[in-house]
């Protein structure tokens, strides 16, 4: 009622990555793992990052999380440049930025109870840990991800892979983050359990309006959870766009090859695709001895 001038809704992105470069090694031996990657992530949105091993997708995750030094470019989160924030001041920012890793067997400290692992997130977020309130929140969170409340007293060894991944998700959500980086978060799980965890991730996103940076090598999985997909190859984005578009009408030849390499879980459809698709037929050609994964500079990073 105060103004007629239409103001464009300029929603600031939650995460903004500009011309990100990450090198491994120093000086002349430096090998680029990520080269000039830029993307934005809006609140409540999921960006799927797909690529093969050594493509640099996990390096992007580590750079966003501050676990690897950035060689050039900006990573801004909630308007602040993370690359210039000193490590000890990151603590406050990381309340809003959490991570779920791939390996449910190594991402939880076996010597700490589930309750302790969850409580320390509150501590890192600057809140009191060990209080009655925190215990209540832990119990609530465990229940929310589908685990019994008495899980807090037990050690990781008492849980299956799928349950541990639920615990890792509960741990990430303790501080009610705005962005969760899922680095191959469902890759190590069996298919039926993977479906359970994917459903849980989607439900939680709806309930808490979180954004996900969802990193995986499995295209159908990424397609299922993502709003947008970015395809990464040898450290560069080759394609970025709405999930359906990238999945159904891939423009880049590499994306096309990636998609046609995923076999369709239906024998008749797969047979007919194999008969028509050139990608499936050429793939039986001999491969050059040198140009295979090992030669790729970032082969050791993922």
């Amino acid at each position: 009622m105060t103004t007629d001038a239409p103001i464009l809704p300029t929603v600031d992105p939650l995460l903004s990555v500009r011309d990100l470069e990450v090198n491994y090694g120093r000086g002349r031996q430096a090998t680029p793992a990520v080269r000039g990657v830029s993307f934005d992530l809006q609140p409540g949105e999921t960006l799927g990052l797909v690529g093969e091993s050594g493509s640099g997708k996990s390096t992007i995750a580590r750079a966003v999380l501050g676990l690897t030094p950035v060689s050039a470019g900006r990573v801004s989160f909630l308007g602040r440049d993370l690359t210039s924030v000193p490590a000890r001041r990151r603590g406050l920012l990381t309340r809003d930025l959490q991570v779920v890793f791939q390996d449910p067997y190594s991402s939880l400290n076996p010597t700490r109870t589930i309750g302790q692992s969850l409580a320390e997130m509150l501590r890192a977020g600057g809140e009191g840990a060990g209080t009655a309130l925190s215990r209540e929140r832990i119990a609530e969170m465990l229940e929310r991800v589908g685990l019994p409340a008495d899980a807090a007293r037990r050690y990781p060894a008492a849980f299956s892979g799928g349950q541990r991944q639920r615990i890792a998700i509960a741990r990430a959500l303790m501080t009610q983050p705005r962005l969760v980086v899922c680095d191959e978060a469902v890759s190590a799980l069996d298919v039926s359990v993977q479906a359970q965890v994917l459903n849980l991730l989607r439900e939680l996103q709806r309930d808490f309006n979180m954004a996900y940076l969802f990193i995986a090598h499995d295209l159908p999985v990424v397609r299922n959870v993502s709003h947008r997909i970015a395809v990464i190859h040898r450290g560069r984005f080759v394609e970025q766009g709405p999930a359906r578009e990238v999945y159904e009408r891939p423009r880049d030849p590499y994306t096309q090859k990636l998609l046609s390499s995923v076999p369709i879980p239906n024998a008749r459809l797969q047979r007919s695709r194999r008969a028509t698709s050139p990608a499936a037929r050429t793939s039986s050609m001999p491969e050059p001895a040198a140009a295979d994964g090992a030669a790729s500079p970032a082969a050791t990073t993922d």
Binding site: E52, S53, L65, R88, R90, G91, L92, L93, T94, Q98, V99, F101, D103, S106, S107, L108, N109, T111, R112, S117, R123, A124, Y155, A157, A158, G162, Q163, R171, V191, S192, V193, A195, Q196, N199, R202, H217, P220, V221, R223, N224, K257, S261, V262, P263, I264, P265, N266, A267, R268, Q270, A280, S283, S284, E287, P288, A289, G293, A294, A295, A299
Partner: protein, 624 residues
């Protein structure tokens, strides 16, 4: 510590040390005269043990027991100083070096190496000449000189732990380095620290006793264990008894430290280690249903007939496979599908006779060209392996020996099976590398395994499997560790090899896409049993077993837009927890009372179709 008390050895050791500590504190207070006693009752010198002097008296008539008790304090104090000094320096420096690596690690490494190179006892002597009779200085020096071993142990343990993902997770959560080190790293490496500390205790005790023996740290007449041994040695010819009480005490104390270290190490991880499994329930009814699924096709190249396998868990055999039956015809591709823990790899391993140690086939048979493989001698079986039935594993890198060129590893197989000359075998190996689609096979043959990429390594391991010209190739998750583009190439390669050589292929996988791409027939396994057998088209279009249906449906490939993916509730039970009757009953939406009443056999439905389910009729109307 408390957990260590529950073990008899731990309780005994802790009690011993507690008693020693109490003695160290109380004895000098309760026996104030002994410390400075120059001589005792000179009428009864060198007396043997008696009721008034339980351990006898020494050369000056002093009571040996009193001296031993009073001498405990100085011995223990010296020990505690040395050990705390070693721990206080070794643990933080080791943690720091292992956690930060880089420059700090290098500097700490140099210091540790330098300290290692120093002659410990001589340095202690030098210190004692500067500070005569100063035990504190001597023991601090000793602690310093013993700390490098702790630094090394702590550093290498930390190096391993710092790579764990939970450390990354803690860092990403913004937790400080001291917090991560004290709460995440330290508890994890407590075991090796405790063991090393107990060794340091032993060494410190020996050095303290030696110094006291030389009367360098404890001035006469103050009693100490080492001093008492020295006294005893002087009169060894006339009274041999005197060295025994202090000597025995020192020996027993060192042994106790070692033993206690081991017990505490074992028990300190007990809280978080996987709980020992309870006695498994053994069910008598499991073996009985074998007859219902006897293979009828006698012509099959390879048939697995109602196979049952047990593996030892905590010393008790637990059944991990039950009534597994299927067959493989010549030139046929059969996929063995299931989730982890369902027994598909175990089945494949039983065929080639590569069960984990203690694994035993308790029922059924594996029949190859009419011969029961289990009935063969070790030698006959060995001859068949690789030649008739070859094996490709999931981890190509691990399956290749790192120290030999890959060409020789293949040639070795060629020579074993075909008995050719070395050069002929090498030529054949190069041919095989060409056959598996590697360009420039000559160059690849001369490489070592670490010089191969993942895709190449899998091709090489396939080439090695082909060395014996097998009829059956068993591939255990051959593409699981590979990227999708490489997976497509390896699947295409397997298909081509299988067609060209007319080889039968048994492919173990959990990936329905792989099944659809390559298989002719499918065998689905769940919780140690075959639950469904069908042709590949049928399995996708009308799966009959609820598990097969659930597993196929939960693949996100079918409906990428699905807001909610279909899933199977719960998890695959461990073999100890298999439900009675149908193993899937507790996760099945269609389960009725009859499902859990008795073991469900594999039921014949139509041609080439069988399912281990009594409720398949409900799916007949509704195709998947």
């Amino acid at each position: 510590m408390i957990a260590a008390l529950r073990r008899p050895a731990g309780a005994l050791c802790l009690t011993y040390i507690l008693v020693l500590t109490v003695i160290a504190v109380l004895a000098p207070i309760l026996l104030p005269d002994v410390a400075m006693q120059q001589a005792g009752d000179l009428r009864i010198t060198n007396a043997p043990p008696s009721s008034s002097h339980p351990l006898g008296t020494d050369t000056l008539g002093r009571d040996v027991l009193d001296k031993l008790l009073v001498g405990t304090r100085v011995t223990l104090v010296g020990l505690v100083i040395a050990v705390s000094c070693a721990l206080a320096i070794g643990v933080p420096l080791g943690l720091l070096a292992g956690y930060t690596r880089g420059g700090v690690d290098r500097v700490v490494g140099w210091i540790a190496d330098l300290a290692f190179a120093m002659p410990t006892i001589i340095i202690v002597f030098v210190v004692l000449t500067i500070f005569p009779h100063n035990m504190v200085a001597a023991m601090i020096t000793l602690g310093l000189l013993l700390s490098p071993t702790l630094i090394r142990v702590v550093r290498s343990a930390t190096l391993v732990v710092r790579e764990e993902l939970y450390i990354d997770a803690a860092k990403a959560a913004g937790l400080s380095a001291p917090y991560i080190l004290s709460r995440h790293v330290l508890p994890r490496i407590l075991g090796p620290i405790i063991v090393q500390a107990s060794l340091v205790c032993g060494v410190a005790l020996i050095v303290q006793t030696a110094l006291a023996f030389l009367e360098l740290v404890v001035p006469n007449p103050q009693p100490s264990w080492g001093g008492m041994i020295a006294d005893g040695l002087r009169v060894l010819q006339t009274n041999a008894w005197l060295v025994i009480p202090p000597g025995l005490t020192v020996t027993v104390t060192i042994l106790v430290f070692g033993l206690l270290g081991d017990v505490i190490r074992d028990t300190s991880s007990a809280a978080w280690s996987p709980a020992p499994q309870l006695m498994p329930k053994q069910r008598g009814d499991l073996g009985s249903s074998a007859r219902s699924t006897e293979e009828t096709e006698g012509s099959a190249l390879l048939s697995v007939r109602s196979l049952a396998v047990t593996l030892p868990r905590e010393g008790v055999p637990v059944r991990v496979l039950h009534d597994v039956s299927f067959s493989l015809d010549e030139g046929e591709v059969v996929a063995l599908v299931g989730e982890s823990g369902c027994g598909k790899t175990m089945t494949a391993r039983s065929i080639v006779g590569l069960l984990p140690s203690g694994g035993e086939v308790t029922h059924g048979a594996v029949v190859y060209r009419g011969r029961d493989l289990a009935a063969l001698s070790r030698k006959q079986r060995h001859a068949l392996r690789g030649k008739a039935i070859a094996w490709v594993s999931q981890e190509p890198m691990v399956s290749l020996t790192p120290v030999f060129r890959v060409g020789w590893q293949i040639a070795e197989g060629v020579r074993r099976h075909q008995g050719t000359s070395r050069t002929e075998a090498w030529r054949r190996a190069v041919d095989l590398l060409g056959e598996v689609g590697l360009s420039d096979p000559e160059a690849v043959a001369r490489r070592y395994p670490h010089e191969l990429s993942g895709g190449m390594a899998q091709r090489v391991s396939i080439a090695r499997a082909l060395a014996g010209d097998p009829d059956v190739l068993i591939a255990d998750e051959p593409t699981t560790a590979l990227d999708v583009t490489l997976q497509a190439e390896i699947l295409a390669l397997l298909r081509r090899l299988q067609e060209q050589r007319g080889m039968a292929l048994l492919l173990v996988t959990h990936d329905w896409g792989v099944v659809a791409d390559i298989a002719d027939r499918v065998v689905v396994m769940y919780a140690g049993e075959v639950v469904e057998r069908a042709d590949v088209d049928d399995i996708f279009e009308s799966p009959c077993h609820p598990y097969t249906r659930g597993l196929i449906a939960s693949d996100p490939h079918h409906d990428p837009d699905a807001e909610r993916l279909p899933f199977i509730r719960g998890v695959v039970p461990r073999p100890e927890d298999w439900p009675a009757g149908c193993h899937f009953s507790d996760r099945c939406d269609f389960s009725i009372a009859a499902c859990t009443d008795r073991t469900v056999p594999l039921l014949h439905l139509t041609d080439h179709r069988e399912a281990r389910c009594i409720r398949t009729d409900i799916f007949e109307e509704a195709p998947a």
